[in-house]
């Protein structure tokens, strides 16, 4: 609603809109604040966004463009309140306002201000995803696909292109939190393999390839093994030539969340 209200009066009242979308960064362009923000970034953000903010588990933040909005206030809000539906937590309870602005200032200082070159064809990539690659056997996009692997509905927002590429070619390079492989051997010598849904000192929960949920008490089975490897096949480097890989990446990069059907 806020955006519509702003658009409605855009021609006349740009300044008012800026005020409505939130606050101005009091430290904008301050190199010292950017430096302090860099320190805080390393402490609080680098785990997901990489030590140089170039992304990893979280999006690349040096692209100069942000899915949450382009204003400083948008960046402030996502740091303070987190981003619903993603792994981005809120830092508002941990960082003072001034420190959040330092982070914003740092992010502005590392922006390369150039878009990522998406060379592939999205539509072709979508076909590869659901067809040749059989990615949809284990991954879900909106209401379609499998459930054993991570849901990719937001993959384009949550992951950098480089990370997505690495994940396809080398699924074990980094493991999405919560997706180790669990192998259980029961007392009657049945082996059940799946992705972790829970794991503690006394029990293990997993989902197998048939999307069946299993729960075991460790004391009731012969063995429970957890491995920090992915169940995803590691043959995509051979399966996809470079051009197809780029198409697939273009598709994954386009996945930005639930798309509501037009009425």
């Amino acid at each position: 609603m806020r955006r519509f209200r702003c658009l409605w009066v855009m021609g006349l009242m740009t300044a008012v809109c800026a005020a409505q979308t939130g606050k101005k960064n009091p430290l904008a362009g301050d190199p010292r604040a950017a430096d302090e923000g860099r320190m805080m970034f390393r402490g609080s953000c680098s785990l997901c966004h990489g030590i140089k903010a170039e992304g990893g588990r979280g999006p690349d933040l040096t692209l100069g463009t942000f899915s949450v909005g382009e204003a400083d206030a948008d960046l402030y809000n996502v740091i303070a309140n987190g981003s619903a539906g993603t792994e981005m937590p809120e830092f508002g309870s941990r960082l003072e306002e001034e420190n959040i602005w330092r982070l914003v200032t740092f992010l502005r200082s590392v922006a390369r201000r150039e878009g990522v070159a998406i060379t592939g064809n999205r539509a072709s990539g979508e076909k590869l995803f659901w067809g040749k690659g059989q990615c949809g056997q284990c991954h879900r996009v909106q209401a379609q696909g499998g459930r054993m692997g991570p849901d990719l509905t937001l993959a384009g927002r949550q992951r950098s292109l480089a990370y997505l590429k690495e994940s396809i070619l080398d699924p074990n390079a980094d493991l999405t939190p919560g997706y180790p492989t669990i192998t259980v051997v029961t007392r009657d010598a049945k082996t059940i393999v799946g992705t972790q849904r829970g794991f503690d000192n006394f029990s293990a929960q997993l989902m197998d390839a048939g999307e069946n949920f299993h729960s075991f008490l460790k004391s009731d089975v012969r063995s429970v093994k957890r491995e920090f490897r992915s169940l995803m096949p590691d043959n995509y480097r051979r399966l996809f030539p470079e051009l197809e890989l780029n198409d697939l990446l273009a598709y994954l990069h386009s996945l930005r969340g639930l798309v509501e059907e037009k009425k």
């Binding site: 430096d35 302090e36 860099r38 390393r42 680098s46 420190n99 493991l175 000192n201 490897r229």
Partner: protein, 552 residues
């Protein structure tokens, strides 16, 4: 104490009309009062050992919850509750505190003070517990203040500033009562503070003494800091110390130098950070110190409980102080002199080959943080961090929770600004090598590991040892666990539904043994089914005098 003397003690307390004050003498004899829990480490030696044995290895599997008290307060619930006079006194995150009816868990009073703006807290808005003397409870507030509360009503009797939040100080420690003084440590080494240990008069809240954990130039140890780096030297004191009444010495562990991961700006050993200091209780003057990690660049605070035990080391009977340190080594020192008697690794250590005869670590090169990141072991939290340890005179073993793993350490240049985070970078996890955990049992005289109960994640809860042959622990996934004190075998568990970060306690109510543990946002108590005394024998098991802490 047997069942009948326990009942007699309760009857006497009731018939006296008002509860006996918790005198200093009573605190010194805390170990021989199994009904109560009167000080952070149960006794002044930091044992966290109870002589209660109603709950024992034979019946612990029958433990059931008795009541739960939900604070509704978000954050890490790290408190050691105190139990006295049919009340449980509980501190919670963000300046909340409660008195609970021991029988029902009903709230009797609630203290709360809103957190003022501008408090810098590196690692959670936590509090680790009360201290008690007379009818006063003492607690710190996060905004670096010490308070005395009326134990009957929760009303504030006095309140004093420990130091300024503008400088980056905060307070989370459970105070330690020594004589008529309340001793507190301080947090803030991640914000470039110069830390200290303070003693306040229990009646008035006036400061009696202060010991700076970072000396100024000209003072002994002042030459271990290059330039003016001592002014931002850190050395926080955020976990409660211990006290030996015979030597009249207070033992307190100190934290990391600041900035944590960039040592370039503070050349030298950086005394007395990452050290154990022994202070004259009356004056706060330094009697001796031992520095575990000179010129630390990994954030290996030496704040783990300094436990006071009389043990045999290499055939000699020693009044010792022991600590499984965050840097991965287990240490034994003569607590009268500070002389190092034993140092041996208890977990994976990559930064030092050993501790040399001069007491200094024999360093392995290439272990320091770099701008690109460099791997070293143990991880930032250790080894053994602040999680409470225990010593059982019954088994003669020292128990402590650990994290098992390594870390990638980064280094960055950083300019200091008062009140701002000042860490010189950070640490990151090693991909596909998550840190695990354990509860360990170590022979204090040799450092030999007797058993290790392995956990899938770093052990978050503290431990408690009992004469029932049990060690109680808690984990990140929310289990409250009983282990066999001699073998480490798990005997009972209860899924609390919230992370267990606190240490458990045990006490008697109407002659029956209970356990209490803070988990998630709840305080939960446990007991055996049935009325007191029926479910278990309550054998008289007295400790030999030489293993008793306090005056002989």
């Amino acid at each position: 104490m047997n069942r009948w003397t326990a009942i007699l003690a309760v009857a006497l307390a009731v018939s006296s009309g008002r509860a006996a004050d918790v005198t200093w003498d009573k605190l010194l004899r805390a170990q021989s009062d199994p009904a109560s829990w009167l000080t952070y480490g149960r006794n002044h030696a930091g044992w966290r050992y109870s002589e209660l044995d109603q709950i024992n290895a034979g019946n612990v599997a029958q433990l059931v919850p008795q009541w739960m008290f939900q604070t509704g307060v978000q954050g890490k619930f790290e408190t050691t509750p105190l139990v006295h006079d049919r009340m449980m006194f509980v501190t919670a995150p963000i300046n909340h505190a409660y008195a609970l009816d021991l029988l029902t868990g009903r709230q009797i009073w609630h203290y709360y003070k809103a957190l003022p703006p501008g408090v810098s807290i590196c690692c959670g808005q936590v509090n680790r517990g009360f201290a008690i003397l007379g009818q006063k409870l003492f607690k710190v507030n996060l905004e670096s203040r010490l308070l005395a509360l009326d134990a009957k009503t929760g009303s504030v009797l006095w309140e004093t500033e420990i130091d300024s939040i503008k400088k980056g100080f905060s307070a989370t420690v459970a105070p330690l009562v020594v004589k008529n003084m309340v001793l507190v440590g301080i947090a803030g080494a991640e914000y470039g503070v110069r830390a200290f240990i303070d003693a306040f008069d229990a009646d008035t809240g006036k400061r009696v003494w202060r010991f700076w954990t970072v000396p100024s130039p000209g003072e002994p140890g002042g030459d271990t800091w290059g330039g003016d780096s001592w002014q931002r030297g850190g050395g926080s004191t955020w976990v409660t110390g211990t006290y030996d009444p015979e030597l009249n010495l207070v033992y307190w562990g100190t934290g990391n130098p600041g900035p944590d991961w960039n040592g370039d700006v503070r050349p030298g050993d950086n005394l007395y950070t990452d050290s154990l200091v022994a202070l004259d209780a009356d004056t706060g003057k330094l009697k001796w110190y031992y520095q575990f990690t000179p010129h630390d660049v990994h954030d290996w605070d030496a704040i783990s409980d300094p436990v006071l035990v009389d043990i045999l080391v290499k055939g000699q009977k020693v009044k010792a102080v022991i600590q499984a340190n965050r840097n991965g080594f287990y240490y034994v020192m003569d607590r009268a002199t500070g002389k190092l008697l034993l140092a041996t690794p208890y977990t994976k250590v990559s930064w030092a080959d050993s501790i040399g005869p001069d007491g200094r670590p024999v360093l392995i090169s290439g272990q320091d943080p770099t701008p690109e990141g460099n791997q070293s072991c143990p991880s930032i939290g250790g080894g053994h961090n602040w999680q409470a340890s225990a010593y059982s005179p019954q088994t003669g073993l020292y128990y402590f929770p650990t994290a098992e793993g390594c870390q990638i350490y980064y280094k960055t240049d950083q300019e200091f600004r008062e009140g701002q985070l000042y860490t010189g970078s950070t640490g990151g996890p090693i991909p596909l090598e998550p840190t695990t955990g354990a509860v360990m049992a170590v022979e204090p005289g040799t450092g030999v590991t007797r058993w290790k109960y392995e956990m899938v994640t770093p052990a978050t809860g503290g431990v408690l040892a009992t004469a029932g042959g049990l060690v109680f622990a808690g984990d990140r996934e929310g289990y409250f666990i009983a282990l066999d004190a001699r073998t480490g075998k798990p005997l009972w568990k209860f899924p609390t539904g919230g992370v267990v970060i606190a240490p458990p306690i045990t006490y008697l109510l109407d002659g029956k043994q209970y356990l209490a543990i803070a988990a998630g946002q709840s305080m939960i108590t446990f007991a055996l089914p049935g009325p007191a005394g029926r479910s278990a024998s309550f054998s008289a098991r007295r400790l030999p005098p030489q293993t008793r802490p306090g005056p002989q």
